[in-house]
Subunit: 183 residues, 4 copies
DNA sequence: TATGAATGAGAATTCATTCAT
DNA sequence: AATGAATGAATTCTCATTCAT
């Protein structure tokens, strides 16, 4: 509820009164449920990320999938999060600068690191296995892929013409095999 | 000067006093030079975009490059803008929600449309010429590529180990030919 | 409360802090009760005028009084308003220029028109009935009488030596029969 | 020049920049001609009133006119001032509250007293001479007449259908002989 | 739990005034 | 004399937060 408003207007531009009105009460009443606006934000972010971070960290350790399938898995997972938590995705993508330096922000950075680690493992294993090209800087490959996932949340509409899975598949096709026809 | 602070802290979180202090004066003194905070932002965005939009609109009309070269050109152009105007890039990427509905925002949207049109033309011609795969939804290809360009501004550091051109080239290699080794 | 300060110092010269201090609170606290300084003024004016305008408009339509009695009635009514709403009278008389162009100002002009219409009807009927001189420009007669009513609010003191009714009666005597002794 | 702006917008609502712009210079440049905004106002008022006050004070002492003619003279004189000094009239009528307590304001009050004195003398002599009715409170007669003069400046337009002298004559007719037809 | 009144620390903006050039 | 940059105090308004009821 508050998450949706944070996502729509940005965290700073959302007033406590905005949230209270949406919740059908007065702004002072919110403080019976939350200690502060910051705590509301923190709870929203934490609820969405805690399970996700655990998963990412596990993923970085295990993952026995074949390289191409692993890439597909990671891309799907990334997009799935944006679909499951559209508000939190929007807040992290568009507003996180507004709370830089807070514990909440650190949580987001921890997740970013977990994701980077998981992807890096997958990309390394692909190269080692000969499935992936060795001439591409793996940092940049990661950045390209995560860019697609991050931006996905910006334009994806659940009621649009393509399902998330179709989109993820197409993006995988593009990233794995390229836009160009083989010569 | 103001642009850098807007970029670093977000537009709403930047106070007029922040800008004035950075400029070595008191907040009221700024109004000798600008009519309002909004006007300051508008001038910053407009200065950066006016020339760029003209270029994008021209590009959408002409461009006789061979498809692969055209994709390289567009990616370079996009990243070049982020390098030349890092603050404006950051503001547009992270803060534009904060001034949705203003004339300044409309300017940004106009540029977005010009860019989309230019890319779309290039991708269509590539498919027609047989250079690009016809099985990939061109909207999604565009979105993948623009995602890479947008996110590029988020992590690129001018004093980093790779030049912008190297990064752009690698991203083109990836997007054109794919991550996977041909079988 | 706010009305008295507006009346004493003028609207522009009254600060929100002035009003808040008088009300025993801080300036920001006023905004719990009013959306803006303008709204405060508007409510003050509107509360005083709404009923009065209705009355004036009714008066312009009906009124079957004998001409001399009708003039007395109008003069009494005008002065009565200044006595009942001394602050609003003062604001309208001395400060209305400060909010020219607002909806509040239009309300005042609407009342002015209603009053002029009511007076004009009375004066016309008096002339037709032969009770009033036909050689005096009725516009000027109206302006003379309304001038007396408007200025009345400037100097009348409720605790002064004469009651409002006495004053109104004297003014009627003067305006109806003149200062000079008949020859 | 400044007087016209003060008159139109009110003193407080007129900025030094408004005046400077009208004078074709920048606000700082005005201070080579005037020490302060207050001084500008003071000079404007003083220029108009100094001669007038002297005249009023002389009038209060001398004046050998016959009572009816004296009333006509005073009314004409009052309206003449409003015609000759429309801006100063407007400032005194509408804005003087804004500078209550200043030396400039005292000057205005001094003129008010001189005028009241002159009128009072005339009215007293008229009653003594049997030309004016003795049953009308002379304070109120004065207030009625000065009200007409003050308000005159509010609505008089030099390019209107009636000249000032015609208006003054009609007002004298009304005030001296009354609105009602003699019975 | 909820209300509604109040707080207090800013926020953007205005404006008379100063002053070096 | 005029400019243009800067000042600093004041103004309206916002908003997270508190607290008695």
């Amino acid at each position: 509820m508050a998450a949706a408003i944070f996502a729509r207007k940005g965290v700073t531009n959302t007033t406590v009164r905005d949230i209270a009105t949406e919740a059908g009460m007065l702004s002072g009443s919110l403080y019976h449920h939350f200690a502060s606006k910051d705590e509301m934000l923190d709870e929203i972010i934490r609820n969405a990320l805690d399970a996700d971070i655990a998963l990412d960290e596990a993923l970085a350790r295990s993952s026995e999938l074949e390289p191409r399938a692993a890439v597909r898995e990671l891309l799907h997972r990334g997009m799935r999060f944006a679909v499951d938590h559209p508000d939190v995705s929007a807040i992290m993508r568009d507003s996180s600068k507004e709370f830089a330096g807070t514990a909440t922000y650190e949580l987001i950075r921890r997740r970013d690191r977990a994701i980077r680690l998981a992807w890096t493992r997958v990309l390394e294993r692909g190269v080692t296995a000969g499935a992936f090209r060795a001439d591409l800087d793996p940092d940049l490959v990661f950045l390209a892929m995560i860019s697609v996932v991050i931006s996905f949340g910006r334009w994806y509409r659940p009621d649009g013409p393509r399902t998330m899975d179709q989109i993820a598949d197409t993006m995988c096709d593009l990233l794995l095999d390229g836009l160009a026809n083989p010569v």
